[in-house]
């Protein structure tokens, strides 16, 4: 099967503006978008740059805009996209080269919600156990692989890059609702800000984008309610 990849290229050292470049590639319909990119990189144009690592939807490094929707290139089959494939870097983050964006602002927001266990109790002698029901409360948000598909598909984030973004909120949810963690109050106050959770306009783009099918808007709603219960 012959397909055309139309890729937004940009090398800040050479190019004034990003431009589209077309590549014709011979692929199997059951190949993934990433396989086609590899064929281009290895046999046609080695200057093409993109991130990928695990190639199995686990590391979250190859999020890109594929025909207008943020997806992981390693998780999408070519037969499900068609023979014209337009690829752009994810939005709202500075392009370093081609499909590689600067993830630092994204990770800075991730770090700001304190994504680690906060528990000052004396060290237990055995592991900290948790009931199945307690785990169920935040099970969905543990699945996040920090690919940034959600945050970079969020119009609130495009408008204002100071917005914490859905991914950091998902991570906050993962710790706030964990019964073993004692940092809930601290984190709730971190997200309780104009540029925190209250910039979420319930647009649902994040839910459409998430390759892990996390119900992000629901998680954000649970955080908003937790804040209300805390303050009212």
């Amino acid at each position: 099967m012959k397909v055309t990849y139309k890729i937004l290229r940009f090398d800040p050292e050479k190019d004034k503006k990003p431009y589209f470049k077309d590549y014709d590639v011979e692929v199997e319909p059951t190949d993934r978008i990433l396989d086609g990119l590899n064929i281009i990189k290895w046999y046609q144009d080695s200057t093409l740059s993109y991130r990928r690592s695990c190639a199995h939807g686990i590391c979250g490094s190859d999020a890109m805009e594929i025909n207008g929707v943020n997806k992981l290139a390693c998780k999408v089959l070519i037969q499900n996209v068609g023979s014209h494939i337009t690829i752009k870097p994810i939005r709202g983050l500075r392009v370093i080269k081609d499909l590689i964006v600067d993830m630092e602002p994204f990770f800075e927001k991730y770090r700001s919600i304190k994504p680690y266990l906060i528990n000052d109790d004396s060290l237990p002698t055995h592991e900290r156990l948790q009931s199945v029901e307690d785990r169920e409360i935040f099970d969905d948000t543990t699945k996040c692989i920090l690919c940034a598909s959600c945050t970079s598909s969020c119009p609130s984030f495009w408008w204002n890059s100071m917005y914490l973004g859905p991914s950091a909120l998902v991570q906050a949810h993962r710790f706030i609702f964990d019964s073993r963690d004692h940092g809930a109050d601290e984190r709730l106050e971190i997200v309780n800000d104009l540029n925190g959770i209250w910039r979420c306009r319930t647009i649902f783009n994040c839910v459409d984008a998430c390759p892990r099918e996390i119900k992000i808007t629901k998680a954000i709603e649970e955080l908003k309610r937790a804040l209300l219960h805390k303050h009212l």
Partner: protein, 135 residues
């Protein structure tokens, strides 16, 4: 090089919080109440008493109707709540738009002040009319 950003306006380490949460909650509650009250208004004005039929083109019928309505405190209260919620729900919505789209400090200051000033003027004028209208 990426610029170091704090996600909090003005670089506060700890967000001030509070107001935005109440503003969000107000929008939820006022939205639901406004929907019910607007439907109630529609029902009373156009189904139960049909004002369109009352008006005999010189406006006398409608004026008479308003006069009767405003004799007791009940309708004034209803309209006052409607005024309060609709005004602040609407203007808060516009403030959210400014929050989303306007990043320049000067423009923000100007627009947000304009919104608060408008809210104040409309609220005062509306309330004066509602309570001083002499039936």
């Amino acid at each position: 090089m990426w610029k170091k950003t704090t996600f909090s306006v003005g670089g506060r380490a700890k967000p001030a919080g509070g107001f935005e949460m109440y503003s969000w909650y107000f929008m939820r509650i006022s939205g639901v109440v406004l929907l019910l009250m607007a439907l109630g208004h529609l029902f009373i004005m156009h189904v139960y008493f049909n004002v369109d039929e009352m008006v005999n083109w010189d406006g006398v019928g409608a004026a008479e109707f308003v006069k009767q309505r405003f004799e007791g405190i009940g309708w004034r209260a209803y309209d006052f709540i409607l005024l309060t919620l609709a005004l602040f729900h609407g203007l808060n919505g516009i403030k959210w738009l400014v929050d989303d789209y306007v990043h320049s400090k000067c423009w923000r200051l100007f627009l947000v002040s304009a919104i608060y000033t408008l809210a104040f003027i409309f609220y005062v004028v509306g309330s004066i009319f509602l309570f001083s209208y002499n039936a």
